[in-house]
C-alpha cells in the first residue's frame, strides 16, 4: 500500500504546524521588516521631496532676493555715482574758486611786492640822485656860483615887489620894523661885504624903510655860513623866512618824486 493513512494525517498536521511556524518566524518578521523599510524609504523620499521642494522654494527666494539685491546695488551705485559726480563738480568748483582766490591774492601780493620794490627802487634812486646832485653841486661850488646864488636871492627879495607877492611882503614887514629878534642870514659859503650890502639894499628897496630902520637892520643883521644849505642863502627874522637854495629845489624834487611814487599803483 503506497498510502499510509496515519502518515497522511500526521503529515497534514505537520504541514499545518509548519505553516503556522513559518508564518510566525519567517513571513511576519520579513514582511514587517519590508514594510518598515518601505515606510522608511517612503519617509525618506517624502523628506527628500520636501527638501527638494523647500530647496527649490529657497532657491527661487534666493534668486528673487539676489535680483532684488542686484537692483538695490545698481540703484545705490547709480545714486552714489551721481552723488560722487555732483560732489566732484562741487569740489572742483570750490577748488577752482580757491585757486582763483589764491591766484588773485598772489597777484595782489605780487603787485604789492612789485609796488614796494618799485617804491624802494625809487627811494634809493632818489637818495642816490640827490646825493649825487649834492655832491656835484658841492664840487662845482665856487665864487661865481656864490655870486649867482646871491644874485638869485636878491632877485627873490626884489620879487616881493611883485603885486602877487603883496601878502607875503606885508606879512614880513612887521618883522623887520619891530626892531627885535634875530635877523640872520645863512649861506652855504661866506658872503663878502658886497653881497651883504646888496642883500640889505634889496630889502631897503622892497620895503622902503627909513634910514633909521635901515641902520637898525644893518646893525642887527648876522651872517652865518652853513654846510646844510647846498648852494643857497636863507634870511630869517622873527620866525619869518626868505630863502633861495638849490637844496630847496632838491627838497622840492624829492617831495615831488615821493608824491609821484605814492600816487603810482
Amino acid at each position: 500500500m503506497l498510502i499510509d493513512w496515519f502518515t497522511v494525517f500526521a503529515q497534514a498536521i505537520n504541514f499545518l504546524i509548519l505553516v503556522w511556524l513559518m508564518k510566525r518566524f519567517l513571513y511576519q518578521p520579513i514582511l514587517h521588516a519590508i514594510d518598515a523599510r518601505e515606510r522608511l524609504i517612503a519617509a525618506k523620499i517624502s523628506d527628500a521631496e520636501k527638501m527638494v521642494k523647500d530647496s527649490q522654494q529657497e532657491k527661487s527666494e534666493f534668486a528673487e532676493k539676489n535680483q532684488e539685491f542686484d537692483q538695490q546695488r545698481a540703484d545705490l551705485l547709480k545714486e552714489a555715482t551721481i552723488d560722487a559726480q555732483t560732489h566732484g563738480k562741487h569740489i572742483l568748483e570750490e577748488t577752482k574758486k580757491a585757486a582763483m582766490a589764491l591766484a588773485s591774492k598772489q597777484r595782489e601780493n605780487l603787485k604789492v611786492d612789485e609796488l614796494r620794490l618799485h617804491r624802494e627802487l625809487i627811494r634809493r634812486t632818489q637818495i642816490e640822485v640827490l646825493s649825487i646832485s649834492r655832491k656835484v653841486l658841492q664840487d662845482l661850488a665856487d665864487e661865481n656860483l656864490d655870486k649867482r646864488i646871491v644874485d638869485n636871492f636878491v632877485k627873490r627879495i626884489l620879487d616881493l615887489k611883485n603885486p602877487k607877492n603883496e601878502i607875503q611882503k606885508e606879512q614880513l614887514r612887521p618883522a623887520f620894523i619891530s626892531g627885535k629878534g634875530n635877523f640872520l642870514v645863512r649861506s652855504s659859503s661866506g658872503l663878502d661885504p658886497t653881497q651883504r650890502t646888496s642883500i640889505l639894499a634889496a630889502i631897503q628897496d622892497v620895503f622902503g624903510f627909513s634910514k633909521e630902520i635901515a641902520a637898525d637892520l644893518a646893525a642887527r643883521i648876522q651872517f652865518q655860513g652853513s654846510k646844510d644849505l647846498v648852494g643857497g642863502v636863507e634870511l630869517t627874522i622873527n620866525g619869518r623866512k626868505i630863502a633861495w637854495s638849490i637844496s630847496d629845489y632838491l627838497k622840492s624834487l624829492e617831495q615831488g618824486v615821493k608824491d609821484a611814487s605814492l600816487r603810482q599803483p
Partner: protein, 231 residues
Amino acid sequence: MHLSPDETIFFGYGFFNINATIVMTWILMIVLVLGSKVITRRLSRGVERTRWQNLLEIIVTGIEQQITEVGLKGSRQYLGFLGTLFIFVAASSLCTIIPGFLPPTGSLSTTAALALCVFVAVPFYGIKSQGALEYLKTYTKPTAIMLPFNIISEISRTLALAVRLFGNMMSGVMIIGILLTITPLVFPIVMTVLGLLTGMVQAYIFSILAAVYIAAATRVRRPKLATVESK
C-alpha cells in the same frame, strides 16, 4: 529497495508508525524553522541588510508577487499556506543532494496530505471570501447538471496534485538509485542536478496550481450592473 520512505519504520505501535517520511519531515521542519528564526533574529529594518535576509526577502516577495499575478487579491493572507507549500516541497527536493536524506515528498502519503490540505483550503478560502451559499452555488454553474462533474473535477484534481508530485519526486529518487547501481560515477550527478530542477519545477507547479484553485474558488462572480449616467 523501498518505493516510499513510508516503508522505513523507526517506531511502530499498531496504527501509529513513525516512519522515515514523518522523521524527515520533522528534520526539515526543524531546519526550516530554525533557519528562519536565526535569519530573522536580527532583521534589519533599514536600508542596509545581510545577504541571508536579502535572499529570504527575495523569496518571500517573489512568492507574494506570484500569488498576486495568479489573481488572488490580498496576497498576504494566502502567503502562509501557499508559501509554505512551495518552500516545503522545494526544500524537500533540494535536500535530496544530502546523502541519506529521503525527501518526504517522495511519499504518496505526504503528497496526498498536501493535496488534502489544498482540497480543504480551497473551500475554506472560497467560503471565507464569498460565503458558504455562494461558494456552494459555484458547483452548480453553469447548470445544475454540472454538479457531479464539478465534484469529480474537484476530487480528481486533488488526486492529480498528489500523484503528480509523488510521481516526480519518487521517480527522481528511484532513477538516481537505479543509476547508482549501473553507472556509479558521473551520470548520477547529472541526474541529481536534473532532479533538483524537476523538484523546483514541481514545487512551483504544486503551489501555483493550489493558488489557481483557491483563486477560482474565491473569485466573486457578480452580475454586471448597467451604469446609468444621471443627467
